[in-house]
Point group: C2
Chain length 408, copies 2
């Protein structure tokens, strides 16, 4: 057993609510080396819950830094075939995947050549295999994060890991008397909200705020979804802990206007404090940032679909993450405190009839195809969100960070 009981509790939550482990499953765990305590707890608890085999693979930010700093140019976006094979094995055998973040050194690459950082963040066979497994619903998977001193320092300016545990526990409802029951209630609330939007069938969303005037066209066959998902063989799971968002896939060809981020974006070892983007006919045509815009530009240039949107998500200020009042400098958390969009791959699970279509067919249907998917936060108290009806009427959805859409 672990000295910190919250590590055991978070491990159980990742297995019982996150992947919703099925007895007899193989469980892959991908963890930062700094998150070894949680990875070990996940391994032990997974066996107790009936896992057949638990395979923990660590990724090490310092080894990654050595790659970005010192490797030959052509090695930067290469991935060893066995790392691809590992995901393919799980996808082929109805496995489960637990990803454990909690970056102790989020600025570790900030002093390196931005072009090399960008190339190392580019699409890889690994990303493609993982996205294929996820879109094909071949895995039950979840992402969680373990607090550590470096992350605490990033968030609070001091290495107060206890304080960060308090915030994370609140964000993932570990502080509830029965966290599993609390999650059941919470997922029901999100389901009600997606049902409300799916009934309304808005054909566009309109975001307005400082630096933002953005119109995002939705797909006729698009559906609003929450973090509660289901595998192809019918196993329900929760893909992110925490999750507060409801999301859909917009038409990649038709976004227009400007947007400004409202929270910092941690991207492959750099932290981008603010980012301004301009869209024309769906495409990102301008990238502006006070620092590290090169990292974004390199990513946006990485394949044909990269500069187009693949996701839009709505979150209001009542979320457990939002209520902490904290910027976690982690997309996993911060996207759940604010509305966000993502450039890159569209989410086929949010499009009706999309399953089984080829990439070309999906693209023609308006679902973006790319080997990347990067979320960034654009919502908050100063950003209004409206739904646009078939008659071009604008109906308020979010005001002052609150959900105001009346029941139809």
């Amino acid at each position: 057993m672990n000295a910190n009981p919250r590590i055991e509790q978070l491990a159980r939550l990742a297995l019982e609510v996150g992947i919703n482990l099925e007895a007899g499953q193989d469980v892959g765990v991908v963890a930062l080396t700094a998150s070894a305590p949680l990875a070990r707890a996940v391994a032990a608890r997974a066996y107790e819950l009936g896992a057949r085999y638990v395979d923990v693979a660590y990724s090490d930010n310092r080894v990654r830094r050595a790659l970005v700093e010192l490797a030959p140019e052509e090695s930067l976006d290469w991935v060893p075939p066995w790392r691809v094979e590992r995901i393919a094995y799980l996808a082929k055998n109805r496995g489960a995947l637990v990803q454990i973040g909690g970056d102790p050194e989020p600025n570790l690459l900030a002093d390196l050549d931005p072009e090399r950082v960008g190339r190392a963040a580019r699409p890889t066979d690994l990303n493609a295999t993982l996205l294929e497994a996820i879109n094909g619903r071949k895995l039950n998977w979840t992402i969680v994060a373990q607090p550590n001193e470096g992350w605490a320092e990033q968030v609070f300016g001091e290495r107060d890991v206890g304080r960060l545990w308090d915030a994370v526990a609140a964000a993932v409802r570990l502080d509830e008397p029965d966290p599993v029951a609390a999650w059941r209630d919470h997922l029901d609330r999100l389901a009600a909200r997606t049902a409300q939007l799916n009934e309304r069938r808005f054909h566009a969303l309109h975001f307005r705020g400082p630096g933002t005037d953005l119109a995002i066209q939705l797909l006729p066959q698009g559906r609003w979804r929450s973090g509660a998902l289901e595998t192809a063989w019918g196993r329900s799971f929760v893909a992110n802990l925490p999750t507060e968002e409801i999301y859909t896939t917009p038409d990649w060809r038709r976004t227009q206007g400007t947007v400004r981020t409202t929270r910092p974006l941690a991207l492959r070892g750099t932290v981008i404090e603010r980012l301004d983007l301009r869209f024309e006919d769906g495409r990102i045509v301008e990238v502006n940032a006070p620092a590290h815009s090169d990292v974004v530009r390199a990513q946006v240039d990485s394949d044909e679909g990269a500069p187009f949107l693949g996701e839009v998500a709505l979150v209001d200020g009542t979320s457990a993450v939002g209520r902490t009042g904290i910027t976690f400098f982690s997309t996993l958390f911060d996207e759940n405190a604010a509305c966000h969009i993502a450039y890159g791959s569209g989410l086929t699970i949010a499009v009706e009839g999309a399953e089984g279509l080829s990439p070309e067919e999906l693209r023609a249907a308006g679902v973006n195809q790319s080997r990347i998917h990067t979320d960034f936060m654009i919502g908050g108290p100063e950003v209004d969100v409206d739904g646009v009806t078939e008659t071009d009427a604008e109906v308020p959805i979010l005001r002052d960070d609150g959900w105001v859409l009346p029941t139809a």
Copy 2:
């Protein structure tokens, strides 16, 4: 750069003397999580020396404990296919492999069911693939170890990691003014000793000491080798740091007598303080130990070749390891302070004409076939070693831990 300069020095030694890295090579690193500082230094220095890609895979003793304690019986000796694929990739592409030990918790499995510990230590596809790559000389590889507090406590009874660094530095000649030059001289001395034995062509060795009276028949085509090896494509490397032994492959069918270990044997998480074995016609027919004999028995029963010898090695008391006067509780070090034998796989590199032979042909030629290979120490000041000539005369090789064989 690392806070501890010895970590940088040991990383360089592993790359420049150990694998003798070739520019453009892929380097695989397998490290215990506790040895991450050395793994990171190896990654960075390898790129500086021209590596194409460095792939670090960590193994975590705590995750292994969860497996042995809690996994279904049939999972204990299973290995994920990607771990096998990883070694196969390196072997196929003229890669190099650095293994980094230094177990911080050598007794971690001591309280678990010995049968389960034994099954988890049994032959696997991974071992088979690794042994095939090594015997086929498809990799330049080396094994090193990084000191840590847990290991220091095992050795000294206190967590004095500085003292252990001193001992390790002495054992691997990092304390020499020019370690790389010191290694060149040392390897020349070992080469002279193998030349001496290869000229003598003893047909057997005879070990005599407390609890030991063992006759090991050598192979007519057997050759004495040192830790300085060469890949199939002609790259020299040093497989163990430290290495002080000279070794050969005996005839697996003809060992007779009894033998007692002279140093503790650390085997898959248990430490076996003393072990008595009896051989009949090559086979281990008795295993006795005050504790953990079950772990040895399970291993010896794991395949057809497991209970037969695959190696005999000579070390005298002048070795850099022996001169430290320390028991390291690590085979990598302790086998280099004392003569040793290994049950399991024979070393084809120590047999002339063996390359390219099938496992069946090797076995028929007297070279043992098994998926395991476990060294244990049987030499020391109280154990005499003689060479047996064609006329059955016994010629002293080691007396009082000193090399006494006169030049022929």
